[in-house]
C-alpha cells in the first residue's frame, strides 16, 4: 500500500509543537533544579547516624525507584487531591511527581559519589586533625562532585524523555501537543514521526554531551 505523505501539516503546526518543546524543557529544568537540592537532603539523611532518618530516606528512595513513574504521576494527580483536599494544577502535579521521582534517583547517585571516596582518605584527614565538617568540605565533596556529574547528566537525558509521561495528565508538553495536533489534522503518521524525530534531535546531542562528561571526569585511582 502506497501512503501519500503530507509533510505540510508538520510545518503548519510547528508553532504548537515548539510551544510543547518549551514546556518539556521547562518541566525538565524545574524538576532537575528541585531534585538536585532535595536529592542531597535525602542522601545526607540516608548517610546520617540517626536511625529513623536513615530508614525514612531508605523507604523514600526505594519506593520511588521501584514503582513506575506513570503510577506516581497518576497518583499525585488523582489520589493526592482527594487525600489532602489540595488541588494542584496539572503542571504543578506533574512537576511534583517527576521531581519526587528524580529526587530518589539523585539521592542514590549522591550517596554512591560520597561513599566512593575511600575511607582511608577520611581517616587520614581526621588523623591529621581536621574536623568532620572540614573533611567533608575539603576532602570528600570535591571528589564526590566530579564523580556525580556524569550520572547526573544521564539522569537529565532520561528526565527529558520521561516528561512525555506527563501527557497522560494533559500537561501541555511536546507529547501532549502532538496528540492534539494528530487528532486535529487526522495525520498521526506525519505528526508522531515528526515528534520522534524532534525528541531524537534534542536528546541525542545531549547524550553525546553526557558521554563526553564520562570521559572528562573519569576516576583515576
Amino acid at each position: 500500500m502506497r501512503y501519500q505523505w503530507h509533510f505540510q501539516v508538520i510545518l503548519d503546526n510547528l508553532p504548537v509543537l515548539i510551544a510543547g518543546i518549551q514546556l518539556t524543557v521547562a518541566v525538565s529544568a524545574l524538576s532537575m533544579a528541585i531534585a538536585i537540592v532535595a536529592g542531597m537532603a535525602v542522601a545526607l539523611a540516608r548517610l546520617s547516624s540517626h536511625r529513623a532518618l536513615r530508614w525514612a530516606a531508605y523507604a523514600y528512595t526505594e519506593f520511588f525507584r521501584d514503582t513506575p513513574l506513570l503510577m506516581q504521576v497518576i497518583w499525585v494527580f488523582y489520589a493526592l487531591p482527594l487525600l489532602t483536599g489540595i488541588n494542584l494544577s496539572r503542571f504543578a502535579a506533574g512537576t511534583l511527581a517527576v521531581s519526587s521521582n528524580l529526587t530518589a534517583f539523585l539521592a542514590e547517585i549522591y550517596r554512591a559519589g560520597i561513599t566512593s571516596v575511600s575511607r582511608g582518605q577520611e581517616e587520614a584527614a581526621l588523623a591529621i586533625g581536621m574536623r568532620r565538617s572540614q573533611v567533608y568540605r575539603r576532602i570528600i565533596l570535591p571528589q564526590a562532585v566530579t564523580r556525580v556529574i556524569p550520572p547526573l547528566g544521564s539522569m537529565w537525558v532520561s528526565l527529558f524523555k520521561d516528561t512525555s509521561i506527563l501527557s497522560v495528565i494533559a500537561v501541555a508538553e511536546l507529547m501532549y501537543k502532538a496528540r492534539l495536533v494528530a487528532v486535529d489534522t487526522f495525520r498521526p503518521l506525519e505528526i508522531y514521526t515528526a515528534v520522534a524525530v524532534i525528541y531524537y534531535l534534542l536528546a541525542y546531542p545531549q547524550s553525546l554531551g553526557v558521554n563526553y562528561l564520562y570521559g572528562r571526569f573519569r576516576v583515576r585511582e
Binding site: 500500500m1 501512503y3 526505594e62 519506593f63 525507584r65 521501584d66 514503582t67 513506575p68 513513574l69 506513570l70 503510577m71 506516581q72 497518576i74 497518583w75 488523582y78 489520589a79 482527594l82 487525600l83 489532602t84 483536599g85 489540595i86 537525558v157 524523555k161 520521561d162 512525555s164 509521561i165 501527557s167 497522560v168 507529547m175 502532538a178 496528540r179 494528530a182 498521526p188 503518521l189 508522531y192 514521526t193 515528534v195 520522534a196 525528541y199 531524537y200 536528546a203 541525542y204 547524550s207 585511582e221
Partner: protein, 224 residues
C-alpha cells in the same frame, strides 16, 4: 471545605476486585518476560554488529541503539500503535505492539550493557590468548565471556527493574496490564486513592526483590 484532613480509607473496593488486579499483574509479568527474552536476543545481535569489523553493520547497530535510547518509550509506543498501521495498512494487536516496542527499547539498552561488558575485558588478555594459539571463538568463549558476563549481571538486574516499571506504559495503548486495570478499576469504583495506592504496593512487591538482587550483584561483582 478546603482541607479534608482525615480521609476515610475504604480498601474494600480493592479487596473485592483483587482478582482483577492480579490479572493485570499476570499480564505485566508476561509483557516483561517476553520483552526481556526478545530484548536479550536483539541486544546481543546489536552489540555484536556494533563490535563487528564491518563498518555498515557498526553504523546500522549504532543507529538502532541511539534511536531507541534517545526517544521516549511513550513516543515509540504511540508511533507503533497509531502511526505504523497507517504506513503498513495492518494494525497490530495492542499486546503485540506493546511487547514488540518494549523488546526493541530494552534491546537497545541491553546492547550497550553487552558491549560495555565485552570491552571491559582488557585487550591485553585477548592478545595473550590469541598469541598462545586460541582461535577467535575460543578467546570469546573461554577468556572474554566468563569475565564479561559477571560484569553484565548488575546492570542487567537494574534494567529488569526498569523494564517492569516501563511496562506500565503499554497501558496507554490499552494493553490490560496492571496499570491499565488499575485505571479501569479506579474509574469504576470511584476509589482512586485506595486503588492507586494498592497498585503502588503491588509494583513495589514485584520490583523490590529485584532491587535487593541488583544491590547484591553490584556489591558482589562491581565493588572496587
Amino acid at each position: 471545605m478546603t482541607l479534608a484532613a482525615i480521609y476515610s480509607w475504604h480498601f474494600q473496593a480493592v479487596w473485592n476486585n483483587l482478582p482483577f488486579l492480579l490479572l493485570g499483574v499476570k499480564t505485566t509479568l508476561l509483557v516483561t518476560a517476553l520483552s526481556l527474552v526478545f530484548g536479550l536476543a536483539v541486544g546481543l545481535v546489536a552489540a555484536l554488529l556494533r563490535l563487528a569489523p564491518w563498518r555498515a553493520a557498526n553504523l546500522l547497530a549504532a543507529f538502532y541503539i541511539d534511536l531507541f535510547r534517545s526517544t521516549p518509550l511513550l513516543a515509540q509506543l504511540v508511533w507503533a500503535f497509531f502511526a505504523l498501521p497507517i504506513l503498513t495498512g495492518h494494525s497490530l494487536p495492542p499486546l503485540a505492539a506493546g511487547t514488540g516496542v518494549l523488546s526493541l527499547y530494552v534491546g537497545a539498552y541491553l546492547a550497550e550493557i553487552y558491549r560495555a561488558g565485552i570491552l571491559s575485558v582488557s585487550a591485553g588478555q585477548r592478545h595473550a590468548a590469541l598469541a598462545i594459539g586460541m582461535t577467535g571463538a575460543q578467546v570469546m568463549r573461554r577468556i572474554i565471556l566468563p569475565q564479561a558476563v559477571v560484569r553484565m549481571l548488575p546492570p542487567m538486574a537494574s534494567t529488569l527493574i526498569s523494564l517492569v516499571k516501563d511496562s506500565s506504559l503499554v497501558s496507554i495503548i490499552s494493553v490490560a496490564e496492571l496499570m491499565f486495570n488499575a485505571q479501569s478499576l479506579s474509574a469504576v469504583t470511584l476509589r482512586p486513592v485506595e486503588v492507586l495506592t494498592a497498585v503502588g504496593g503491588l509494583y513495589f512487591f514485584l520490583t523490590y526483590p529485584f532491587s535487593l538482587i541488583a544491590a547484591f550483584l553490584h556489591r558482589r561483582y562491581l565493588a572496587v
